[in-house]
Symmetry: C2
Subunit: 348 residues, 2 copies
């Protein structure tokens, strides 16, 4: 295909090079690229030939510098390796594609510093808006970002302020659903493997856990064994179980994991410890990821509308952008749903 090889050191051809080669002005080349119908057929062809010969590729930096903005938004999720977030991201992409926006996707790995770094990177690159699953304390940063003209929508968490929109699932209800279910099965001593409370989802689910316990007349101090892990993945879940089993006192008969990835690791560790599920330990996860129903013991889980979550967040962001000052900020909240399977209920 290409016969001319350009050495590493040579600089890539610019619009000026194309113009020279085609014997036209830079303005005309730009017109060929952006308003082809304003150029005569003969000239357009000459320019296109020159572009082809020089293997010209537009310089996005120069373009953006002049334009000032790009049709791009950024998204920062907690963990790109978690199927829950990839499904959410897919929802975001689907909505963005309709308006020809591009997505810059990053994972904060639940680290506020990484989150801040990516936010800055996005801003430096001139994105029009960001969707963030924020860590605690980043609200000020986000408000400042908004004040600098970059639209912000919170993803998978409810906005604490009125002038930033959010799309979330009722995590308090979700946590309560899990515990109500376990309590209804007769469990009175329940382990809860949770992430750090700096993550809003963890905090909310915990609140649901506590309120459900209270509703059931159970005292958290006796009924609940809380284990806090550092990362919400399979390794974290495994570590959580090992920590639980190292504790003195009565072992709980039920376990609620803050997400399915964690539950997967917990199940792995429980198996290693030779614990029967749900006989000796009933287990409930959260997210209902694709493999939850297919595990050795199918996992009871709290399901969330992932694709819709992402789609709606992107939709809010784009509408905020287009409607400007008339846009009404809103907190969209979806309801979670408990899917009962064998890991908690032998009859399921």
């Amino acid at each position: 295909m290409s016969t001319t090889t350009r050495g590493r050191a040579e600089r890539r051809p610019s619009i000026t090079d194309v113009a020279k080669r085609a014997g036209v002005s830079v303005g005309t080349v730009s017109n060929v690229l952006n308003r082809p119908d304003q150029v005569s057929d003969a000239t357009r062809d000459r320019v296109l030939v020159a572009i082809e010969e020089l293997q010209f590729v537009r310089n996005a930096s120069a373009r953006q510098l002049r334009a000032g903005t790009i049709q791009t938004v950024g998204a920062i999720v907690l963990d790109i390796a978690n199927p829950f977030f990839t499904e959410v991201a897919r929802g975001v992409e689907d909505r963005l594609a309709a308006d020809e926006y591009t997505l810059m996707l990053s994972s904060s790995d639940e680290d506020p510093e990484r989150e801040a770094r990516y936010l800055r990177l996005f801003e430096e690159h001139g994105v029009q808006g960001v969707m963030v699953t924020p860590s605690a304390g980043s609200l000020d940063t986000l408000l400042a970002l908004r004040d600098r003209g970059i639209d912000v929508v919170l993803l998978d968490t409810t906005s604490p302020v009125d002038d930033i929109s959010s799309v979330a699932v009722d995590d308090v209800r979700g946590g309560a659903l899990a515990i109500e279910h376990l309590v209804s099965l007769g469990h009175t001593r329940i382990a809860f493997i949770n992430g750090p409370l700096t993550i809003k989802q963890c905090q909310d689910r915990r609140e649901g856990v506590l309120s459900a316990l209270a509703d059931a007349g159970l005292e958290p101090a006796e009924a609940l064994v809380e284990i806090t892990i550092g990362s919400l993945n399979a390794d974290g879940g495994e570590a959580g179980i090992n920590e639980l089993f190292a504790l003195p006192g009565d072992r709980p008969t039920a376990l609620f994991c803050v997400n399915d990835l964690t539950a997967l690791g917990a199940l792995r560790a429980l198996r290693a410890h030779g614990v029967a599920i749900p006989g000796e330990m009933a287990v409930v996860g959260y997210d209902d990821v694709v493999f939850a129903s297919m595990l050795t013991v199918p996992l009871t889980s709290v399901r969330q509308p992932t694709h819709q979550l992402g789609w709606t967040a992107a939709d809010l962001l784009l509408r905020q952008r287009s409607e400007g000052a008339s846009f009404l900020h809103q907190r969209v909240q979806f309801q979670p749903e408990l899917v009962v399977r064998g890991s908690s209920d032998p009859s399921a």
Copy 2:
């Protein structure tokens, strides 16, 4: 934190605004940002105060335009939602971080057009190199890219040409491992749910399948039932099984799926059809993803060194960059490993 609100329409402050406010020249502001020790303490403080007051954020486009290049490489994988690729991406990131490079990650979804679009996007943005799991026919594009000074490393596929490096796992061997295993268990009629042969991995694994059958003295026409699916995920696997069950003739007693996600869907469909595993159908997957060992019937799978795959690809890319013309292109190939579990071998 921020008290001054900037309206949407106002343009963001530039280095010139900062300079004016601090009563210095733009050169000095730039020095504060890039060579702080060349500026006196008093001046530096004045500038930093101005930056804080104006909420100044560097404009990445202007920066890159001047610099000509950025410490960024792009990667395009087949499916970001596949745990295999997220693990590979993690390996890439880990290597890049050491040299303070950033990663732009995209998923081609096995679509050559999407792949081409992202390649162009990366190029326009001035990345220094790309790692690609290419689709068929994109070699010319990649060679041209390389000729334009952008380093290319093929990811998870062996390079067909001597002057482009690649990092891969021996997929032919992997396919053979799976079949040898099934044959050794006595299976003589095997279904193979594979993706389109335009995907090199699918083609290679198939080659391994055929060679292993030949070695076992089996005739593919009789011993092998090939099902081709469009997307290598759980839905594809489910569709594959439904297609298989709609076929006339003897039903195979074993199944090899081109990856674990596909196997997951296949298992789901097999369960729906009430098929006993491995009794009526032995199943082998590929990738040994995190949940493979935890399924209802633990999945026999071909394991690949994911993290190392990504790490090595990034390492080659960076070394190619730094060593320049003296760099020797190479094809790195890792060996896969069969992990036998209950889905194929009841005694496992």
